[in-house]
């Protein structure tokens, strides 16, 4: 019977039934085989204990579709509009595009940026100076545009708005050139001699 079976079963000898005993814990943190250990120590760092990165850039399928369509934009813009692809066509290559973009974001782009930063610090100096110059220009142009707008508004009362399209200037058409006869006068009264 069920109650007899439970009485015959082994009592739980573990004083901490929900915990872990020392032997199990020690076995889990001990590596015995030195050959395996040597092999493990030479593992690719990418396979090591890595906590999930919440700030990683994850490429979304929609972005892959947009990039796939963007690849055909130049041809559609400058050759023929029929080069533009539809969403269904873009979705066909979107998976491959997504994998490529993810690899680009995870591997190639950081490597390229770090290479630029490490080997070509003058590049980043140039970028920084260009950024500062662009900012200064933007502020100056913004002030200029604002002043022009203020001047336009100030002169608005002196300007009569055109409500009717002005007539085009009259064009005098002469059918035939006037004939010159010696001894006679022209239309404007001048004498031909």
């Amino acid at each position: 019977m069920w109650f007899q079976k439970s009485e015959q079963s082994e009592p739980n000898k573990n004083p901490h039934p929900g915990g872990i005993d020392f032997e199990t814990a020690a076995a889990r943190v001990t590596l015995e085989d030195p050959e395996v250990a040597d092999a493990d120590t030479e593992l690719d760092p990418a396979d090591e204990f890595v906590a999930p990165d919440e700030e990683a850039l994850l490429i979304k399928p929609g972005w892959a579709i947009a990039v796939a369509k963007g690849c055909f934009y130049p041809a559609a813009r400058w050759v023929h509009p029929a080069y533009a692809i539809r969403d269904e066509q873009a979705e066909q290559i979107a998976p491959a595009m997504q994998v490529f973009l993810q690899t680009l974001a995870d591997k190639y782009a950081p490597a390229a940026i770090s290479r630029l930063a490490n080997r070509h610090p003058e590049f980043w100096d140039l970028v920084a100076k260009l950024g500062v110059l662009y900012y200064q220009q933007w502020r100056a142009v913004s002030q200029l545009v604002a002043e022009e707008e203020r001047a336009r508004l100030a002169n608005a009362k002196n300007v009569t708005p055109i409500s009717v399209m002005p007539m085009p200037p009259e064009v005098v058409v002469h059918e035939e050139p006037e004939r010159k006869v010696v001894g006679e006068r022209m239309r404007d009264g001048s004498l031909v001699i």
Binding site: F22, R28, L43, E54
Partner: protein, 229 residues
């Protein structure tokens, strides 16, 4: 009496490590984790373990030690009292994760970690390895007490801070630390933190209201130093 999880925050040389050593001096089974390998190297009257080869785990599993300096060898068959300093020189988080698993098996032990921010840095809950999380939130069920020091609270994961039964705040001037202290104590205490003398702290806990503790100024006896190597 040491609580299940206690933290000591403060700038360098304000007395937080000395205070932690003072608080754990009566613990019969003590493991002190040392990531700096500096002044604790010469600590006398205690055992020293130097794990020198560690293989990190894959897929979120705990890593494993190799060789005779495996901490598991130190605890194997050990009954009664002990006091040991384990010096970690690299892979702090991964090694502490494995050590927490080991100590959950050892049971009835106090784990004191110097510079806790090196082991469980700030971040979301998943950034803390699983065995450290188990030790922090349920270690008391296995008789595991946990305490640690850090220079600023933002270096330590919020799991440790939110589960701490007692926090001692030593002198600090860092804005984020003061902002974090504001959650635990009235503003008057927070305003006094930047000018606290050495070995004086503001104690906050679940048991009582915050108070300024000057009782151990000049009285803390650090464990005796070993002769110079």
């Amino acid at each position: 009496m040491l609580g299940s999880l206690e933290l000591f925050f403060g700038k360098s040389f304000t007395g937080k490590t000395a205070r932690m050593l003072h608080e754990i001096r009566a613990e019969p089974r003590l493991v002190l984790v040392d990531p700096k390998c500096a002044q604790l190297v010469t600590l006398g009257g205690v055992d020293h373990v130097w794990p020198d080869k560690f293989v990190p785990g894959k897929g979120g599993k705990e890593g494993r030690w190799i060789g005779e300096h495996n901490p598991a060898n130190y605890f194997e068959g050990r009954k009664g009292k002990f006091c040991v300093v384990i010096h970690f020189r690299e892979q702090f988080r991964e090694q502490l994760d494995s050590l927490c698993l080991l100590l959950l098996g050892v049971k009835n032990v106090t784990l004191a970690v110097d510079e806790l921010g090196l082991f469980i840095p700030a971040g979301n809950a998943r950034s803390v390895p699983p065995n450290i999380t188990s030790a922090l939130i349920s270690g008391r069920h296995e008789g595991l007490k946990f305490c640690g020091t850090a220079q600023i609270p933002s270096l330590v994961n919020f799991i440790a801070q939110s589960n701490a039964s007692r926090i001692r705040w030593f002198r600090t001037t860092e804005k984020n630390s003061l902002a974090a202290a504001l959650f635990s104590m009235p503003r008057a205490f927070v305003d006094s933190l930047p000018s606290l003398p050495d070995q004086v702290c503001i104690e906050t806990s679940d048991a009582r209201a915050p108070f300024r503790d000057e009782s151990l100024v000049g009285k803390i006896k650090i464990l005796p130093k070993a002769p110079a190597l």
